[in-house]
Amino acid sequence: MSRTYLLVTFLLLAAFGLAFAGGGQEAQKEAVKLTVWIHGADSFIGPNEQQKPQGEWYIAQAFQRFEQANPGVSVELVVPPDQTASHQNFNTAVLAGNAPDVANLWTGQPIYTRKDVIMPIDDLVPAADLKGIWGWESVRYNFDPKGTLLGYPAGQNQICFMMYNKAIVKKAGLDFEAAPPKTIKDFDAALAKIKASGKTPILVDEAAQGVPWFMAWVADYWWAQLTGNAQIIEQDAGKKKFADDKGLLAMLAYYRSLYTNGYFRPDLSTSNDSFSQFLQGNGAIWPAVPSFLADAEKTLGADVGVLLPPEFDASSKIRNSTIGGPGQSLVMPKNGKNPKVAVKLMSFLNSKAEYLESQKVNTYPTVRTDVTIQELGWKPASNIAKLGKVANTYNFWVDNLLRSPGPADVFYPQGALVAVGKMTPLQFAQEMDKSVPK
């Protein structure tokens, strides 16, 4: 008993000591010190890097290289715990005057709606970068080609696709390598065959993580084909109605038909194990982004295939494409103290040399226009090379065109309701209209 108390007292004294000792530390005076938020796992930090000491991470070494090239500059890496919340944290930090010099946020509306707290970089971007990188539209205010530049598109060029199990598809009498479904009709026929073979055609969790993945990664491509990003942006701004958008309604009706035909797993609005089920060989197709390729190939080996979405409208201007593009951006706060050095760092991280360096640890398609697949050493027949080939023909993320508060707040939580029939396509579109801020 008394020993317990002694121990407790000792620990408490230690706690107080540490609390006060910690308060007095002053940051060392440097000529320029940049604090940089880089999110874990989805941008410059790969899923296999966090097992290593921080000094060995690609991004930490990139910062060291930047420090060496720019004497007098030091860069501090901060990994925020939750990227959704870090958008709000960024606002608050700017408001209080202690924001990082560079923050890693999402592209599109997530930064447009923050334009009051972001410093534009139009005058600071090297002209060569404007040519050397795809995806500037994702960081130009309102996707306007002449809009203010709010930051750099960064990190991965995530390309959406349908991952499929070659063995299951083969058993159903199909070959997606030789003859991938090109139209919606082909796609329906293929799904029917897979269903007849006794396997679930499409495994997906449409509500478990707050994002309807199939809708955002596959069906949105059809929406973009039918309606076009430009008009979706107008609808998001309330200039046109979602309810009048024939393309949206057609896309949603088809999405619903996939469910009623039994091509989706029946419990897609409550399930949370589709990736596991896919890896266990219990279904043919699973919508994905490149981040998942490595783990899937480790488990299913050569059975992993890559399928791009079929064309909904063969006469559309957008064809042979898919949803994708830079989903991550680098921006700086409007009260940042070192804008020039900060932009220099953004440019540095997006340089060809750095991209090739990062590919030594992480594999993903790039936003650089001047990198060839040969340079990367990707085997031409590999899944990643197939995705690399379409890296420049992507259609930018439709869900990043929707603002929050606004239509995004309907799209994300209620998308799955359309599939299961709790909401009609028209009701869904009307809800999106209602949510547009006045």
Binding site: T84, A85, H87, Q88, N91, T92, V94, L95, L105, W106, Q109, P110, T113, D116, V117, A207, A208, Q209, G210, P266, D267, S269, T270, S271, N272, D273, R403, S404, P405, G406, A408, D409, Y412, P413, Q414, A416, L417, V420, K422, M423
Partner: protein, 294 residues
Amino acid sequence: MKKRRIVLQIVFSLLPVLLVLAVFRVYPIAVAVIKSFTNWDGLYRSDFIGLRNYVSFIQSGLFWMVLRNTLILLANVPLQVFAGLVVALLLYEKVKGWRVYRAVIYIPQIISAVIIGFLFKIFFGFNGPFNAVLRAVGLGRLAIEWFGNSYTALGVVIFAVVWFSIGWQAIVILGGMSAIPTSVFEAAVLDGASYWQRAFKIVVPMLVRVLEFCIIASGVWTLTQLFPFLYAMTRGGPGFETSTLDYMVYLKSFGLGFGSDYGMATAIAVLLLLLVLAFTLIEMRVANRADDWS
């Protein structure tokens, strides 16, 4: 002279608490209440818009669903107090293996809600173990998509919350029981009082104050802290069918994705506050103890 000393004792005992609360709770709450009449976006925009946040939330139809869900979830309070009481009595009477139970009972409180939520979601999944058992014993008709509609989903959430809280309730009640002289129990056992008689004729009357604390604390917890559970288990869905007031506060402030409507979030928080005040008043009435404090 003595009176002055007592006054000083009262003042200096309460002062630190009042100071801390005034600066770190009341001030931010006051800011929030004021912001509930504005269109604050968490940044610079903050125009006075009167009751518009309240009116539009109440008119949205979402309000009634969310309010209903909040009230349904309150049903977990009597259940968790009851379950905690039963377990506390068993521990008190040292059933076989009580040391093991006592050691494990608090584990759920220590585990991240994300993991608890994930496991419950799998367990009650359409193809999960629970439905597998139902199908195996020939009750396949009952094997439904438990999270697929608001009532059964809320039922599962209540079950999960009770499971999570048994340990908390049990140790609070055990703490209260430590003040009851054991002779009272011994006499009751000698008189041949059954387990339920001992529970309701002896323990409950002597623990009125502790049980009152259990009810208020878990009630407030249900109303204001349920967010992590709902987030992990249902994401407030399908749609908004399992969202509660405090869940909406989170969605509107920290966002479904990346945006925030702080004005609205604070208005919902004020509505929640009004609801809790009503809840507390009722509780005090029911316990008929309001006069105790006059």
